[in-house]
């Protein structure tokens, strides 16, 4: 029960009927504190609200302006992807992954292909590894751009959003040139890629890597020491290191509390251990540290992209897909001219690939946190179970803990800093 008293009577300048200046009180006169503090208010934010970043609904119990309880409701975008996958071939699941975390579709595609390959024990080619690293890091940059831009808007800064979205557009153009799609990329296939990069594509990414850090530095200048930005973010939405580990948080949220765990470093995949990059780690576990961690991750992703481009130059003409008839289609020219290849193509498309009986869990460091795909196979062409370990889902489950006791306006800032994507939470 709040005992806060109203100390000042708020008023605003105005004029009376005779045209003289007077002070007009705002609303009713100050009442006894108990009058309005005795009753808690229940407010509903969402599911359609620009600050909830998707169809998230928060029911918030307020004591005055202080949040005493925050209850998230999810499921408005539930599409049953996990159920659908039980009726599909492995390569047919890839389009579903585009639609889970739709802010980083290429990274999801990579995770799905890698989980299937783990199940089948396939080693992919070196060029494919480098291409997948490029796909993952491009995804990380565009996902963090959306996060930073929209968080800025939530807190009242519109300009960086426009600067950043211009940069995002450049990646989207590259993505479109590579995959033919801007959003639903479906880039990978089990054992390889849907397509190699087109001729001259590297130049565009190289240009991006050279100019993007300058934009980031401008954003850094605008935000990092900005009084409003610091005031709204520092010490807000704090979660302790212990609570973050116990609550299964991952990604920038976990690292902002000081836990040095990044799947790319600690369980290296795609040869990430051979790239030179740093993992930023925060210490306070508040919104501001999460901002710093993500900002630095974008710089580091640019570094990784440059190294990957250098490697790609040395792998010109190297094969992208594995030489494994179980998973890879024969070249179209052969399928149209040679009987064996045509039968192979037909069986592959109609029957799908068949992993052995078994199960595999594979986690990768997605922009939002650790994305894990868990496959259980019974030896048929369709998985028994496809489980998505959704990073946003677990990160969001800690939101009440971060908001309770804070002000209502902090809920918006904190929810933005958690960086959720509802497609992945609801699946």
């Amino acid at each position: 029960m709040s005992t806060r008293t109203v100390e000042f009577e708020l008023s605003t300048p105005g004029v009376d009927a005779a045209g003289r200046d007077i002070r007009v009180p705002l609303g009713a006169r100050a009442r006894e504190a108990d009058d309005f503090a005795s009753e808690h208010t229940l407010i509903n934010i969402g599911p359609q609200h620009p600050a909830t970043h998707g169809v998230l609904r928060l029911v918030i119990e307020l004591d005055g302006e202080t949040v005493t309880r925050c209850i998230p409701h999810i499921g408005y975008l539930h599409s049953g992807f996990e159920k659908l996958a039980e009726y599909r071939h492995y390569n047919q699941i890839i389009p579903l992954t585009d639609r889970t975390d739709y802010l980083s579709p290429m990274a999801n595609n990579v995770c799905l292909a890698m989980a299937s390959e783990k199940l089948m024990g396939i080693e992919i080619t070196e060029r494919c590894q480098v291409l997948r690293v490029i796909a993952c890091e491009m995804s990380r940059i565009i996902s963090h751009i959306v996060w930073l831009g929209t968080t800025g808007i939530d807190i009242g800064a519109f300009t960086p959003f426009l600067w950043l979205f211009y940069q995002r557009e450049r990646i989207y153009n590259l993505q479109e040139a590579w995959t033919g799609a801007r959003l639903t990329t479906s880039l990978t296939r089990v054992g390889g890629m849907m397509a190699d990069i087109p001729e001259g594509w590297e130049a565009g990414l190289r240009d991006f890597c050279q100019t993007f850090p300058k934009v980031l530095q401008e954003v850094d200048t605008m935000f990092t020491k900005n009084a409003i930005w610091c005031g709204r973010n520092q010490g807000v939405g704090v979660i302790s290191r212990e609570a973050a580990v116990n609550g299964s948080l991952s990604g920038p949220l976990l690292r902002s509390t000081g836990v040095d765990y990044d799947v790319r470093k600690d369980r290296p995949y795609l040869g990430y251990d051979t790239y030179d990059f740093d993992v930023p780690v925060g210490e306070h576990g508040d919104n501001y540290d999460r901002y710093l961690v993500r900002l630095e991750e974008m710089f580091q992703s640019t570094r990784i992209l440059e190294q990957a481009l250098d490697r790609l130059a040395g792998l010109r003409g190297a094969p992208v897909n594995v030489d494994d008839a179980r998973v890879i289609l024969p070249p179209k020219s052969r399928a149209m001219s040679d009987m064996e290849s045509m039968i192979h193509h037909f069986k592959q498309v109609m029957e799908g690939i068949r992993p052995p009986v078994g199960e595999a869990y594979l986690g990768i460091e997605n922009p939002k946190g650790e994305l894990g795909y868990y496959f259980v196979s019974d030896g048929t062409a369709k998985p028994v179970r496809w489980r998505i370990r959704p990073p946003s889902f677990l990160n969001l489950s800690a939101l009440p803990q971060m908001c309770e006791g804070a002000l209502l306006s902090d809920v918006i800032a904190t929810n933005a800093s958690v960086d959720i994507v509802m497609g992945e939470i609801d699946r």
Partner: protein
């Protein structure tokens, strides 16, 4: 392929400590999987978290698997990780589908299990004993078609499309609030009879 990969050293420690409760273990695609008797699962998981030699302080994931073969039991799967040792372990429990599907909640060990267990309850109908707030999470409170990820659940649901539409249009808007929230808003009287009955049985939430 890491078919010949050695099992995690935790397996030997588990067998030494829990004996017959450790049903079997296998290395599948390089990951160690241990099947544990369901009645001692909480004890085993608690030990794995707290024993200094194990230190599995991070619950990566919690889910369930039902096989197409109806004879096989339903499995509840825990993906554990030790952040300090950078080690992983997968623990599985088997639940006989002829019996009520019930296991002990691990929310007291890992707070992250809260929503994960709610999801397993929502999708598979597994009840987690001592869970602080076990209710549907992705489907809505009054969803009546069953548990979507069970194999006996058709892809498009049990009800026809017209029945689903009729129910959606006839839904009580108050049903969009959980009982817990309604208890704050004191609109208990607005609840549907069925929800009030469930509340009366003390199924969840507290209403003044």
């Amino acid at each position: 392929m890491t078919a010949a990969a050695a099992a995690s050293p935790s397996v030997a420690a588990l067998r030494a400590r829990f004996g017959n409760s450790i049903l079997r273990d296998r290395v599948i695609c390089g990951d160690t999987v241990v099947w544990v008797a369901a009645d001692r699962a909480h004890e085993v998981l608690s030990w794995l978290r707290d024993d200094p030699g194990q230190g599995f302080d991070y619950l990566t994931d919690l889910t369930a698997v039902e096989y197409r073969d109806g004879e096989l039991p339903l499995e509840v799967v825990y993906q554990l990780r030790s952040l300090a040792r950078r080690a992983d372990l997968r623990i599985k429990l088997e639940l006989d589908k002829a019996q009520p599907l019930e296991v002990e909640s691990v929310c007291d060990l890992w707070a992250g299990a809260n929503w994960l267990e709610r999801e397993v309850f929502d999708m598979f109908g597994v009840t987690f004993r001592n869970h602080p707030d076990l209710r549907r999470i992705l489907m809505w409170e009054t969803y009546a078609e069953g548990f979507p990820l069970r194999k006996d659940f058709p892809l498009r649901g049990h009800f026809s499309r017209s029945e689903q539409t009729r129910q959606a249009l006839a839904a009580n808007p108050e049903a969009h609030y959980s009982l817990e929230e309604l208890s704050i808003a004191e609109s208990y009287r607005e609840l549907s009879v069925e929800m009030r009955e469930r509340l009366g049985r003390g199924e969840r939430g507290e209403v003044s």
